[in-house]
């Protein structure tokens, strides 16, 4: 199956399960589980924003991504809930980070942006203790939300695992998730490969192949998808053979429903004859979203390459991705 085919099937699963991303009554409750309410909705928005911006309007992913963005925006009462969250948890960063995903796709709430800016001017906000990767994300969220960033992105980058160019054999799961998000932040979620600083642009193509290979062997499908998205966010991607191999191995993990399980453990739990919808939402929604994300970016880079080939006078068909 083609890369876009894998992405299309995954987006089909997302569409069929969109109601599971809906915000319930507990989204505003003090004892609500943010990781089960706002987090999935924010991730849906983040992926669909990038997909809608990197796919051609007539392509198979575009219209559905736009429809899902409309759905997600409705869930926030067209942005009203962000102002409400601001009044309930004024120093939380996650509402701004989720809002920024909407804003990047053109869904905005001027009232929320104004009130978020008031909090972002405080020393307390600027001094919030958080992982360097997260800080980078908040800075980017501020930028996308019309708020003056509270610090330097370059400094925040230097403090991350990836920014320090670590020995690649020290890679583990946590470092992997940190590094993928650094790349997502500096490239505006894959839309601006030129945002990758030169040192990282050299470093990542060297070491993505063994990270991808071992994550796929360990059946860490979710992180594998994120690494594939990173590979498609670089100014110079790794060799095609590396990516072809990784996509083929990832495709073997995709269920006929389009779902991609987060890890091999979910596959083991589901067993061989698990029926039409073998995975719990929590066990597959993120990895399935990441599959869509990685596939859309990979196909976009293929189109770029085909386009460049045409401009170089080669016969590259009509730029239709494989």
């Amino acid at each position: 199956m083609s890369v876009e085919g894998v992405g299309e099937a995954a987006l089909g699963w997302v569409w069929a399960h969109r109601d599971d991303f809906a915000l319930g009554d507990d989204a505003l409750a003090a004892d609500g589980q943010v990781n089960r309410t706002w987090k999935p909705l924010g991730e849906l928005t983040r992926v669909c924003a990038s997909v809608s911006l990197c796919t051609p309007p007539a392509g198979p992913l575009h219209a559905r991504a736009r429809d899902l963005l409309d759905f997600a925006w409705q869930q926030t009462h067209r942005g009203e809930l962000f102002g409400l969250m601001q009044s309930l948890e004024p120093f939380a960063t996650y509402p701004l980070e989720i809002y920024a995903a909407f804003a990047s796709a053109g869904f905005r709430s001027p009232g929320y942006e104004a009130s978020a800016a008031v909090v972002a001017r405080t020393r307390g906000w600027r001094l919030t203790e958080q992982y360097p990767t997260r800080r980078l994300g908040v800075l980017e969220a501020e930028r996308h939300s019309g708020i003056r960033p509270h610090g330097s992105a370059a400094q925040a980058l230097d403090r991350t695992w990836l920014g320090g160019l670590p020995e690649p054999w020290t890679f583990e799961r946590a470092a992997g998730y940190a590094l993928t998000h650094v790349v997502f932040h500096v490239t505006d979620w894959g839309l601006a490969p030129r945002g990758v600083p030169p040192g990282l642009a050299d470093y990542l193509p060297h070491w993505l192949p063994p990270w991808l290979d071992t994550c796929l062997e360990a059946r860490m499908w979710d992180l594998s998808c994120e690494l594939l998205a990173v590979a498609a966010s670089l100014p110079r991607p790794p060799e095609p053979a590396v990516l072809d191999d990784a996509w083929q191995r990832l495709a073997t993990a995709q269920d006929s429903s389009g779902a991609v399980p987060e890890e091999g453990a979910a596959q083991d739990a589901a067993g061989a004859d698990a029926g039409p919808d073998p995975y719990d939402f929590a066990d597959c929604y993120h990895s399935t979203l990441m599959t869509v994300f990685a596939a859309a970016l990979t196909a976009a880079r293929q189109r770029d390459a085909d386009h460049a080939g045409q401009h170089a006078g080669q016969h590259a068909g009509q730029g239709v991705p494989g």
Partner: protein, 61 residues
């Protein structure tokens, strides 16, 4: 060693699978991630703030 003795030895050690030892298959990869202990966090276990993963990343368990 005279060559006929060598030959005897070869026969005697024939059942040793030399080729498997000379070109061994890769062992299965062993994957386990280093963990962090909540006791080192500044907050009580219920809050778990300093150990929470970056957003968005998948929730484990």
């Amino acid at each position: 060693m005279p060559s006929n003795e060598v030959l005897e030895e070869v026969v005697r050690t024939e059942n040793i699978d030399i080729d498997a030892a000379l070109d061994p298959a890769e062992p299965d990869g062993v994957f386990r991630d280093s963990r962090e202990c909540a006791a080192l966090a500044l907050q009580s276990g219920g809050t778990n703030l300093l150990l929470s993963p970056p957003t968005p990343r998948p929730k484990k368990g």
